[in-house]
Symmetry: C2
């Protein structure tokens, strides 16, 4: 029986043993939802970078750069962080450099794990199928908000943990996994209403960027499975 654990924030990530585990990074509003959308629409590779200077240096070398902080596009970047920007016309066949407030930091932290994959509601069935097939222990890493707990990432962790455990190939003794499953069970039947209390929803609303909420909670919009290969994200083709 494989184990599933949940880390509620990248800040506590180094308290987990990730040796030989698959790390699933989740930043539902919005980085991992955006990444899945980019691969769905034909991006070939994504280079996640942690800091603004690095993103700017890539821009100067001619790369297409997506970069935001606190929800807002950085001045030198080609795009901000809404999934709706990334159509086949804008990013099909291209390499994209990507830097966000929380998500890209979380992705690069997982490097020492057996593998890092990108999870969101948009590709949740692909993630489940892949993890069941791989038979490794799993750590779901929530990107959170500036080092803190985020409810929307916990809901995804709960949905994913519950799905894995329901296959009878995974179990958990992790308090965070149990808490996130309880939160998901509470939220899932009236998700739109439950999401009213999510702080990030209100942050995005203030900036007029909350049009993405419904989309980011839609399951299985795509079957792409982005994985970290070296320092780049690439998509594994589904079986």
């Amino acid at each position: 029986m494989n184990q599933v654990e949940v880390a509620f924030s990248p800040t506590i990530f180094n308290h987990y043993d990730i040796d030989n585990k698959i790390v699933v990074v989740a930043d539902i509003l919005r980085a991992t939802s955006v990444i899945c959308t980019m691969f769905k629409n034909g991006v070939t590779e994504i280079i996640p970078v942690r800091n603004i200077e690095e993103a700017r240096a890539y821009k100067e070398k001619g790369y297409l750069v997506v970069a935001e902080r606190n929800g807002q596009k950085l001045d030198f970047a080609d795009f901000g962080n809404s999934p709706f920007y990334f159509t086949p016309e804008t990013i099909g066949g291209k390499i994209v450099v990507y830097s966000t407030t929380n998500g890209t930091n979380a992705i690069t932290m997982g490097k020492d794990a057996n593998q890092v994959i990108i999870g969101s509601f948009l590709n949740i069935s692909s993630v489940i199928n892949y993890l069941v097939d791989k038979s490794h222990d799993v750590l779901i890493m929530c990107a959170g908000w500036k080092g803190k707990f985020s409810l929307e990432d916990a809901l995804f962790a709960g949905a994913l943990s519950k799905a894995l455990i329901s296959t009878n190939k995974f179990s958990t003794i992790c308090d965070s996994a149990n808490a996130s499953m309880d939160l998901w069970n509470l939220a899932k039947d009236d998700l739109a209403n439950y999401l009213e209390k999510v702080a990030q929803r209100h942050r995005l609303k203030k900036m007029g960027l909350d049009d993405v909420i419904g989309y980011c909670f839609t399951p299985d919009v795509t079957d792409v499975l982005p994985v970290l290969v070296g320092d780049r994200l690439k998509a594994i083709s589904p079986k």
Copy 2:
């Protein structure tokens, strides 16, 4: 309207602004439950120390020392960490030096706040009354388990947040506070059953130390309110 926030682990504590806030430290299994029990039974002061060497040095100076790691009493210590050790006969009128796996670390981290107070189910009404009376913003700091999230501390955070908000003198926009209130609402009507999933319960059970569970979730066993004064905990007399 004052704000209430929850930090699920000391690891993420430095992501919170604690300026002019009252920090309530909660380590339900077992440090803050033990501290409340000690003051109930007449300890005069508790000196929380973070590391074992410091605890040992106090022992050599003749202090009464309570010290555990991973649930087990350290060899040089006078007592381990069960609240049942601390009767009026053992600690009445004495100063106790105290060092535990998670709780004492959390207490000493809050030093820069307006005030640090000790919360547990055992003194929850005293905590609520004090916070309502003080009218400061509140950060509930869960001690967690080795830097990670602990369900039992989140349940306390939920119970306390809910009680504060129900006075209409507090509100929250904190995802952790909202999540912990949801978990508490889910657990409270059948707490004994819900606690079955708490990992720390199973850790204590393995060591034969789980006899404290029922006691540690009993509300209002005492009206003591331990507060940090300099580097020592002292009890404020209730009104």
